[in-house]
């Protein structure tokens, strides 16, 4: 019990003194995750909107696959990416394995289906509502997408934050393709796993507090956004 208590105190000290190791890990985690979310949105917003407004053979299958990939196990995503990036894999010559770039790709793979699926659902509902009005103005199909994306902006930000939550909490994929190398690819989740197994609970706890705080902040941001949007009658 005393050991646990001292671990909490030590974790608090690390946080309050902005311990260099802890800060480096938090910053790398944020860099990797925010980049992955940005890329996921860059792909997911237009692709989801396209799936919402377009009608073509095989669309239902693509929607099914995207929805299924929302629950893609991170370790499986990491394993396939590892096979692609390993020296003997098709992308081996790029030398990306065990770099932050590989971790960004892994998290992008996990975030994109979430953003895409949520975008498709939101835009499809909105398109149904706007359909007659838009068609009467001669606006349909791909031409309607920018207007729909803009009007759904508050709901889409919620989707992006859900993707951020998924990426920030993920450990399996980044561990496989990043290798958890100290000062290179060590992020919060992989460090927590490693340090816990080593018995170094203070650093693990400190990072755990940061993760929980991030999660709280994300949820607060979502609630605040939705509240503002509702107040402004924008949802």
């Amino acid at each position: 019990m005393q050991e646990l208590q001292s671990a909490f105190w030590e974790a608090g000290r690390l946080l309050l003194t902005f311990d260099s190791d802890l800060t480096e890990i938090v910053l790398l985690s944020l860099r990797v995750t925010l980049t992955a979310v940005f890329l996921g949105c860059l792909i997911g917003f237009p692709f989801g909107a396209f799936l919402a407004v377009a009608r073509f053979p095989g669309r239902s299958l693509i929607v099914l696959v995207v929805n299924a990939f929302m629950g893609l196990p991170p370790v499986v995503a990491g394993l396939f990416l590892y096979l692609f990036l390993s020296r003997s894999g098709p992308l081996g010559p790029l030398g990306l394995l065990y770099t932050p770039a590989a971790m960004i790709i892994a998290q992008t793979i996990l975030v994109t289906p979430i953003v895409t699926a949520m975008t498709r659902q939101v835009i499809e509902d909105l398109y149904q509502e706007y359909d007659e009005q838009f068609r009467s103005m001669g606006l349909s199909g791909a031409r309607a997408v920018p207007s729909l994306l803009w009007d759904a902006r508050y709901s889409l930000i919620t989707g992006a934050l859900a993707g951020f939550g998924r990426a920030a909490a993920e450990v399996g994929a980044v561990l496989i393709v990043g290798g958890n190398i100290n000062h290179v690819t060590r992020v919060m989740t992989t460090t927590i796993a490693l340090e816990t197994s080593r018995g170094n609970l203070s650093l693990a706890l400190g990072l755990g507090f940061v993760l929980i705080t991030l999660s709280l902040l994300i949820n607060a941001a979502v609630m605040s956004l939705r509240g503002s949007a509702k107040r402004l009658a924008y949802v």
């Binding site: 007659e132 103005m137 001669g138 803009w150 402004l232 009658a233």
Partner: protein, 272 residues
């Protein structure tokens, strides 16, 4: 939609501006859903100029007729013939000065519709109108001035920054109406635009309708409000059970309705 009929006679008689969209002729137009006929053998010519009011009980097919005219749905059978196809160039030299044809914004659909429940974007009042101007391809240099015109027309200057969906019902309908006028359409379709509005808001919408008619826009409006129909209509199309039962100049329709259905409707009996 094709432009097959020859209306040169009307042009020569000065009743139709050269290059104009109207008249539009419906010949035996039917619309069915899952084998059920909702519109049956509609034959009608909608001429330019006059204000046409479509009346009839619920389920008569009035809103469907408007949607067919707007091109939102296609007839299952029959033919809809515009004098000029929608995509054709218009505003040829010699057009009647001041007609809607002259002012019609190139690239915008020549027919515009106002729905009973306006669908407003999740944006401010001004952004709703700016969006319409952009979509209707109003040149960028003209948009700011046109926006001011529309805000003034709808008496919405003080509401420009307000979220459109937070407006009152009457204001929302005014916004929807001026948005429909953004591209200077040749024909304005209105589907019970004042159905849930109070007299003051109704008056404001009617003023907008009369004003755009005065500027040369053909008005086709669906209404259940007999008083409104009397105020606005030049001619009445009466529908029941998916058919056109009677078409007549307004004066004649209201004083001497020819069909039993119209007589019953005007006298306040239930028409089922």
């Amino acid at each position: 939609m094709s432009a097959e009929r020859d209306f040169t006679g009307l042009e020569a008689a000065g009743r139709v501006a050269p290059g104009a969209l109207l008249p539009v002729t419906l010949a035996d137009v039917c619309f069915a859903v899952n084998g059920t006929d909702l519109l049956r053998g509609l034959s009608l010519t909608i001429a330019p100029g006059s204000r046409t009011v479509i009346m009839g009980p619920n389920g008569a097919g009035k809103s469907l007729l408007l949607r067919i005219l707007q091109g939102l749905i296609q007839p299952t059978r029959g033919q809809l013939t515009w004098r000029r196809a929608w995509g054709e160039a218009r505003g040829t030299e010699g057009d009647t000065a001041g007609s809607a044809t002259d002012k019609h914004t190139s690239g915008a659909p020549p027919v515009s519709i106002v729905l009973q429940r306006p669908v407003l974007l999740r944006r401010s009042v001004a952004a709703n109108l700016t969006h319409a101007l952009r979509v209707l391809r109003v040149p960028r240099r003209d948009r700011a001035a046109r926006l001011e015109e529309l805000l003034t027309l709808g008496n919405l200057q003080d509401r420009r920054g307000q979220p459109a969906r937070s407006l009152s019902g009457g204001e929302q309908q005014r916004l929807a109406t001026v948005r429909a006028l953004a591209g200077n359409p040749e024909m304005l379709l209105l589907d019970e635009p004042t159905a849930s509005l109070d007299p003051q808001a109704t008056q404001a919408i009617e003023a907008l309708i009369q004003r755009s008619h005065g500027q040369g826009t053909k008005i086709v409006m669906v209404t259940h409000d007999l008083g409104q129909a009397r105020r606005i209509a030049d001619e009445v199309v009466f529908m029941a059970n998916g058919r056109i039962v009677e078409t007549a100049p307004a004066e004649i329709f209201f004083s001497q309705p020819q069909s039993n259905e119209a007589r019953a409707y005007l006298s306040g009996h239930l028409v089922i």
